[in-house]
Symmetry: D2
Subunit: 318 residues, 4 copies
């Protein structure tokens, strides 16, 4: 039997984060889940992560650590907007699930990250499906972890395409652009799956949802529940006919890189100071700036393979 | 006989600007050509415009006015980069044509613009295929021209796509973003054709060039000459297999709006202060910012119709 | 008899601008007055300038040209704040004087500036007591005037001191920082008198006002009238016990440079992009940036000499 | 006997930091010293702090914790400039002292800060004489420490005066403006002593240095040694005739607030995005912005009292 790779998932658990967690729990040895400020109220996110572990039947087996509740430069109420309009008040499609039995682990997410990387040098892959605050802060607190992290998979940014939270920016990078900049400049090997990959390859329309419902598993039921609000939001705001699964797509790419049909190494950087472009991700496809190529950018996905993975995950959760 | 619409062309004449001028001379009553700083040395641009009029057989019939030689905030040598690498040293594919007989008109481009708009209120359409310095300065000097301009066609910016001079910006908007901002906020009705329209619909590959050469007119010979450098540049820098015709595409759209197969009214704005994004054009497709929709953005072109127009123009120049 | 120097005064005529105009009319051959957007409604400023000429007994002898009504990047209502709170609704201490007989000259201020500089090359000194929009636009429209301008005196900015309109910026530079930047980088020889010179050396307290009133001339009466509002404003906002005379101080320095007891040539630049510091004037006293020294900055005034000049001016207007 | 107040000193130990540490050790119960990136190479700073404790005769009694070696947004080599030109290659006036016996404590400065504040809630005063990276990071990692910190004394910024590292910024705020912003917005009660207080009240000229040398103590000898380089630097760069003691002045103010002859509560904020003004500290003396008054700004010092304190400290170190 092949041993599963060790990962830590950093998440602002709401909506698609949960399916990404289920996917990661399916394909990886998940050492822990760290929570960072983002989608909805922080403590709700923590509960969502704990509940999702329970859904996967792994309650008590995967520790959940609380991390930074707000972005680096989130001063007072400024610059941190939660998105209950996208994911529902509870971030779970207004499902208002019961509280999980498992409680958060003691200690700060950033210390857990640092210690675990040092404990398994070269073995801990990071799956980042949230603003990059926790990961940036780990790098800043202990830069010696950098060479010990083999790969970091990031859902975030756009590759010369329309953003989601503003026209110029994707939500995760927009919430904490300083953190994104720190991480992108860290020299950790990175794969980035941008928002446009999600709108092009991850959408599940009504037919897909019916097929998923037909699985009639605990996993498929959970999928249906948590996607109730985002379906409506996508139709009205993004003019997208279905639910979007950026975090699950990222987790799937991390699990099976071969579902990426196209990717290239580019220089990627983050705008901090623009009046209209804070959080914009520059992807220098034609190498006009002649700067260091620091990120492998996903540019194509085998949609069928991705869908098959998603179905496998949901089918397996009985 | 239908009377032709009156236009003024504002251009930094080099490369494709010349074919756009030929196109405009073919379809419009061109009241004058104004030159703004951009592609190559200013005086060379003036000569290129004069020569192009001569090629069209209209020497002495269309006045050429010198305007602003540098962008608004072009201080010293800062922030104005000419692009002889794209268009050749003379901006004409290194053709080094003889000087035209016609000389520039007396007076400043901006005063010609203001006077002509007042002379024919509601009749002067503007075709802008250069940094927007002249047009912005006309608006600032005399804001009363604004309601008298029925439409302004702009080649510039990108619609959520890769730029050409930097990853985040298209050349015309990047050279003078302050001017672009002034123009976009002016309340003049605007149609914008971005760089991504050009790369998607205007490219002429080797086969197209052969077909054009086969026309064996003075027009087709001129087309071949001035495109010698840009063909190589596009292959090596933009990974594009052919020559690009952004300005001609814009002139064609102005002449026959029906070749636009798709367009929408969006809020468009320009980033001035970004460290990575100066000159970036924000196009708010999903109306996330809920701001005034100020620009009709071209999103699709009937390529065959465009090509037919180009061939008509080149064929007609004997 | 010594011939007076030729000057053009650029002004947003309200409050102390009027006394500066009287001062300039006293000491110089004033070729014209150009009006730029600033203190109060533009047309009111034009009337204020015309009225002031009449007060000086020179009605019809000094042309007044209308220039730019708004700053370069003043888009819609953004970024141009008038200050009727400082100068009264009419900019004249709520005096609501009758309209002058003289009317504005035909033509745009910027063209008058350009033509006059070319007419008297090397002879036209500029006195700038307003946002620098007109002067910047003249330089941009015709850069060949630069070497023909012997000196430009500017009231604006601060020399490492508290601003007046914001903590970091003085009003004239803050209204149109882009214009200020264009002018400071133009290579015209410049003397700058900052706001802190005004608060340190130009304040007229109650005793001074009584002495001025005692002159009992038309000039002294006018001075008393137009200073009615600013006296209260200074006490409540700037904690200054008296009226401030930045523009008159500048005009006096231009007329008699020897009243400057201290001045040095420094590198001066303007911040455009700061979130808190737009319009801030950097004065590099210790040459830390090692950039071109472009401005002679006034650092000390002979207060008695200045006061004597003011009294001479007001006394002479019978 | 009155119990001494508990403090933690955060320092980038070089030059005057050492005398500030001696001052704090004299007047306070120093719970620990935390080191942050700044003046010179990080490990050198750690050694300088350890050595200084030894000079004070307290080797092994006061723990020294290593903190953040670089500012928050210090990416690669960008934006962190050490200043060996000011303080000598070793930050100790090129004295190259022997290594102290005491070694740094285990654990990260930020965790020591958090734990100690929680251990003595309401009792730990912070003395910050370095870039504010460590303190900002403590606040971000555990915002619950904020209400438990009674006061934070900061040497940093300027109050509408010339900076030292750039014309617009003081070194500590310039090195890590994001950290400064986080700290200033934290709601911790703050007293700020800016660079202009230092140049106005803390300078020790040749006569002062002779008087200090005449003390002929270990303390006075140390003072003489570490000030060898800065004396020359100040004369050539800042045109100051003597050594500057910003950090010692801050420590003295913290120890005896009554040496402040003038201070006021103002709104203070930090510029992050300016092209010329990154790290500029806005001090809104006239409350023009009508924002929250968050910092007590020192505006006057009893120089004699300060000097007496310094002499007491140096005399006491035998
Ligand atoms: Ca997420
Ligand atoms: Ca062009
Ligand atoms: Ca004025
Ligand atoms: Ca220090």
């Amino acid at each position: 039997m092949i041993e599963k790779k060790r990962v830590i998932i950093d998440t602002d658990t709401a909506g698609d984060d949960t399916i990404a967690i289920l996917t990661a729990l399916h394909y990886f040895q998940v050492e822990g889940i760290t929570i960072t400020g983002g989608n909805v109220q922080f403590d709700q996110q923590v509960e969502n992560a704990l509940y999702t572990i329970e859904v996967a039947g792994k309650g008590g087996q995967v520790p959940v650590y609380k991390g930074y509740e707000r972005p680096l430069m989130g001063l007072g109420e400024k610059e941190h907007r939660t998105v209950e309009d996208v994911h529902g008040k509870d971030g779970m499609g207004d499902s208002f699930f019961d509280k999980a039995i498992q409680r958060p682990a003691e200690g700060h997410a950033v210390d857990f990250l640092i210690e675990t990387v040092h404990k398994y040098p070269g073995d801990i892959h990071l799956i980042a499906i949230a603003p990059l605050t926790n990961i940036a802060m780990a790098i800043k607190k202990d830069p010696t972890i950098v060479p010990k992290i083999p790969h970091l998979y990031i859902m975030g940014g756009t590759n010369n395409a329309l953003g989601n939270i503003t026209p110029s920016a994707e939500y995760n990078f927009w919430v904490d652009p300083e953190a994104a900049k720190i991480v992108l400049h860290s020299a950790i090997p990175i794969t980035m799956v941008g928002w446009e990959m999600c709108t092009e390859y991850s959408i599940m329309d009504d037919t897909d949802h019916e097929a998923i419902a037909a699985l009639a598993t605990k996993g498929s039921k959970f999928f249906t529940d948590i996607n109730q609000v985002v379906m409506k939001f996508n139709k009205s705001v993004h003019k997208l006919n279905g639910t979007t699964h950026p975090d699950t797509l990222l987790a799937a790419v991390a699990a099976k890189e071969e579902i990426m049909t196209k990717s290239n190494l580019y220089h990627v950087d983050i705008e901090l100071t623009g009046e209209l472009t804070r959080g914009y991700s520059l992807v220098d496809i034609n190498n006009r700036l002649e700067r260091k190529k620091n990120v492998r950018v996903c540019e194509g996905i085998d949609r069928d393979a991705f869908e098959a993975m998603l179905f496998d995950v949901l089918r397996s959760i009985q």
